[in-house]
Symmetry: C2
Subunit: 347 residues, 2 copies
Amino acid sequence: MAELSDRQRSILLLVIRDYIESGLPVGSAHLVENYKLNISTATIRNEMVALTELGYLRQPHTSAGRVPTEEGYRFLVSQTTLQAELPEPVQNTILHQFHQSRPEVDQWMTLAASVLASHSQAISLVTAPFADRNRVKHIELISTQGRQVLMVMVMYGGAVNQQFLTIAEPVSQEKLSEVAQKVNIHFRGKTSEEIHHANFHFDALESDILHLIMVELNRVDDKGGGHIYYDGLSNMMAVKDFSGSDDAANALRLLDERTSLRELIQSTANNTGPGDVNVVIGGEGGWHELKKYSMVLARYGVPGYISGTLGVLGPMRMAYSRTIPTVRYVANILSDIVLDNFIEQSN
Amino acid sequence: MAELSDRQRSILLLVIRDYIESGLPVGSAHLVENYKLNISTATIRNEMVALTELGYLRQPHTSAGRVPTEEGYRFLVSQTTLQAELPEPVQNTILHQFHQSRPEVDQWMTLAASVLASHSQAISLVTAPFADRNRVKHIELISTQGRQVLMVMVMYGGAVNQQFLTIAEPVSQEKLSEVAQKVNIHFRGKTSEEIHHANFHFDALESDILHLIMVELNRVDDKGGGHIYYDGLSNMMAVKDFSGSDDAANALRLLDERTSLRELIQSTANNTGPGDVNVVIGGEGGWHELKKYSMVLARYGVPGYISGTLGVLGPMRMAYSRTIPTVRYVANILSDIVLDNFIEQSN
DNA sequence: AAATAGCACTCGGGTGGTTTGAGTGCTAAC
DNA sequence: GTTAGCACTCAAACCACCCGAGTGCTATTT
C-alpha cells in the first residue's frame, strides 16, 4: 500500500471526521470553507481522486461527495484514536457513577452497559465476568423444602453458582451439612476433570448428590460466559440511514440470538490483548449480518482467572474517537472491580 | 354504546381479522369475494358506515377501505379471543421445550421469552419471579478471601440472594459459621421489619455483619422485581408500518429505560387477576410512547407469595388470537414451575 | 323496509418528464 | 504543483397526470 503525503493524510482524516459527524457525503468545497484550508477546491479534488484510487474513499454516485470506505475508517482508527485518553472530567463522572452503585455484579454490568451506550450513542454489550478455569473452592448445601436442595458453589476466582438440586428423598439440614463437609474436603481446589478421575467411597445419598454436583460443574465449565447485558437499543434508530429497512433489523436479530452474539464477541475478544481495544470494522471475517456495522471490543478482568468482554456495536460511521477511549476506560474500571472483589489477595 | 346487530358484529370481526393479517385497509368488495358472503358490497358499505359512526372502524382517507380503531380491537378481544385455548399440538411443543430445559430460573425465563416472542411475532417481556413478602429462611456466610464474605440468603418462597459483604477485619470460616448460626436462630421467618424492631445482644463483629445483612434485606425488599428478560426485538422491524421512523424507536427507548418499563408492567399487571390475561390496547392510561402499541400481559406464580409478570409488546395490529392464548399458556406453565420449585410443600 | 345495482365522486399512489444544484473531472492558465 | 474555469453528471425534488380502488348516495328491486 502506497504511502500518503502529509496533505493527503490530513484531507483524508478531515473527510472521515466530517462524514462521521454529518452523515453526508463530503465535497471539496465544503471542506475548504468549513475548515478554512488555504488550498483550493481543485487541489482537494485532485487529492481526493488519489485517495479514492488508494481505496480510502468512495463516491456513492458520480456527482456526489466522498464517503469513507472500510479501509478509510481503519486508517482513521489506526492513525489517531487508538491510544487516545478520555478527558479527565468525563473519567471522573463515570468513576463517580461506579462508586455510587451498589457493590453487585448485576449493578456493575448494568451501569457499564448504560455508560457505554450513552457515551457512544450505540448499542453496548457487556458480558458478566466469567472464571476461565473453574476450581471449586467451597460447596454449601442448604435444605429449602422437600426434595429441593440449594447448592451454592463458590469457585476460586470468586464466581458463585447457585443451583437447585432435586434429590430422591427429603434429607435433613444436618445430613446435608455433613455431606457438604465431606465433599469440601475432597474437592477443594479441584477442577471437574480432577474430580471425575478421583474415586472415593460414598454412600447412596452422597453419590446421588455428588452426581448432581458433577453435572452442575460440567455445565459451569461449558457455559462459556455469563449473561450478556446490553443497552442503547434506541440509539440504533437515531442513525439516519439505519432507522429504516433491514440494517437495523439485522442488528436486532443478532441480539435476539444470544448464542451467535456470544460467539462473535468471544472470537473477536480472543484476539485482543489485555488493555487493548479491538476495533472490528464492517464485520470482518464472515459476519455477513454486520456488513454495515462496527464493533469496539475490549476484555476486562484478569485473563486466565476471571474475565469478561465489553464493547459497543454501532454503525460503521461511529464516533470512534469518543467510543474507543470510553470502552477502554470502562474496561479498566471493571478490571479494577474484578481485581478488588474476586481475586485472591496475596494475603 | 349502542348494540350491534349480528351482521354488524360479524362484518366487524371479519374486517379486523383481515386487517390484522394483511395490514391493508379492507374494502367492501374485498370482503365479499374473500369470504364468500352472500350479501352485496353495497350492503356491507352501509353497515360499515354504521360501524364507523359507532367508532369501531375508521377510514385512513376518503377513498380507502376501513381500518379498525382502538375500540375495534377492544371489541375483537372482548368478543372472541380472551377465553380461547391454544391448540393442543402447540401446547405440547411448548411444554416439551420446558421439560427439556435445565431446571434453572435463568433458563426458564429465557425460554419463556423466546417462546412468547416466536409465537406472537412481537417483543416478549418476562420478569423473574419475585417474592411478594420476604421472610428470611436461612442465611449462610462463606469466607471467600480477605475481607470479602459471601452471604447467601434463602428466603421463604425460595428466592435466593447472594451478595458479597466487605467487613472490617478478616474472619475465619468457623467464626462466620458461628455468627450465621446465631443469626439464623433469631431471624428465621422474620421480615426485615420484624428484625429491625428486635433487639439482641451482639458483639462488634456480629453487629457489623448484622448491619450489612439489614442493608441487604432492605434492598431485596424494594427492588420490586427481578431481571427483565426480553426477546423478539427483530420482530418489531418486520412490521411494515413500524420499521421506519419513530414508532419503533419509541418501543426500543422504553426497553432501554428498564425502570419505566418495569413500572408500566407492574401497574398493568396489578389490575390483572390470577389466570387472567390483560390486554392493553394503544397505551391506555397516559403511556404516550405506546400510542401505536398493544400489550398482552399476565401474571404467573402465587400472588402474595412469589410471582412475576410476563407478556408481549407489539403493534396494535397484533395477532391477538394467537398471542393471548400463548401468553396465558406460558403463564400457566411458569406458575406450575413456581409451585413445584419455590413454594413450601404442605409436607 | 331491507337489499341491491348503478353511478358519480374522491383521492392516495404510481408514472414519467423536467428542473435544480451540488459536486465532479478535465483542461488550460498561473 | 496549484488553481481558475467550465462542461458534464446524476440523485433528488418537483410537478402534472392518470389510474383505480373504494366510497356514499340514489334509484330500483325484492
